[in-house]
Subunit: 193 residues, 2 copies
DNA sequence: TTTTTTACCATGCGACTGCATTGTAAAACC
DNA sequence: GGTTTTACAATGCAGTCGCATGGTAAAAAA
């Protein structure tokens, strides 16, 4: 065998190149050649690590989801003594594209979301990725002593959809992050008086 | 000149073929040849009516937005004596993909929305298209005697983003329309007691 | 040392792309 | 009735695409 190589790490390296291209030039600008160039390897290397282009895209989606989950995990670990309400607020605000990293994550997510409308396979992968986040929101909401008559599951879906919609608006430049923060705070104030 | 032809009508005919392809196979499956086949014309005809592919896509976006606005207009005309609150609810529910027509509109909108993340020109077109709808929501919300402390502009943005997010979830099969209706009703109940 | 396996790289191929070009039939205009 | 203009149709072209193929260098396994 040739020089020992961390297979998974090389794949993540390529996945990040994919995400960078998606965030800057869009999903349909992703070609095997451009990914290779962006990652600084030859095209043969890309083919070596991914059997097909679709495999590469699916892996990139899983990777960006994992990184997003890791970010949320780090955030939660950094505020161990926060109450569920503040934690919930923090998690929701982390979904917004405010810096380059989160902007990229949201752009990639939106691109795949659109593609999932006509691809059941991608839709299933998205459900896996976003399900955990929605469950976390529902859990935190339930722990936050919501106002009477509040259905935790439905309201978690609502908060999730709201944050996603706001993220899209910010991403294309129609709204400012500050507006989204105000809206989310107003919503939390109504849900958790 | 050859047989007199309604130029605008022919363009709309092609635009609808574009939207059908986007809704069933995705935005990147749109090629001039496929559009021609879907519309039942030759490829030369498509080139005759649109100088470039991008022009065709932009026109298709404007057309689907116009049709959406027309639908809302018809809905409003059909319930002339409804109160602003019921009207608001009706408009929001019209944004959800419940039948084939609305599903197509949402799929096309989502596809362009994702593309707008990396295309300022498309982002501007989207803003024009969605701005009127958001203003309508804000107007209806203001007329509905909202609860004290409610910022009509922010809450219109919130309702808009919420309906959009829910629409995406329904579109990819993650949620049922009934869930979205429940969530929107709960939100309206909180805003307009 | 020989063999095998891994990690690439370079190249080529057929399919497809948007777009330009050219041709043609028909109807409005002079 | 000839001319011009419009509405297509057919074809060609350069470029790009995903993917298959074949080769090479290196290191683990024998």
């Amino acid at each position: 065998m040739p020089k020992q190589v961390d297979h998974a790490e090389r794949r993540r390296h390529l996945a990040r190149a994919v995400c960078r291209i998606i965030a800057t030039r869009g999903l349909d600008a992703v070609s095997l050649r451009d990914v290779a160039a962006e990652a600084g390897v030859s095209m043969g290397a890309v083919q070596h690590y991914f059997k097909t282009k679709e495999d590469m895209l699916v892996f990139a989606l899983e990777d960006v989801n994992e990184r997003g989950a890791a970010r949320v995990g780090e955030y939660l670990a950094a505020i161990p003594d926060a109450g569920p309400r503040d934690t919930l607020r923090g998690v929701l605000l982390q979904m917004l594209p405010v810096d380059e990293e989160s902007r990229e994550a949201v752009a990639v997510g939106l691109a795949f979301w659109a593609k999932a409308a006509t691809s059941p396979r991608l839709a299933e992968h998205l459900r896996e990725g976003y399900g955990a986040l929605r469950d976390l929101i529902a859990l935190l909401l339930g722990q936050s002593k919501p106002a009477p008559g509040v259905d935790a599951a439905d309201e978690a879906d609502a908060l999730f959809a709201l944050a996603e919609g706001l993220s899209s608006h910010i991403l294309v430049g129609h709204r400012e992050p500050a507006t989204a923060v105000r809206i989310i705070d107003a919503q939390l104030a109504r849900l958790l008086p």
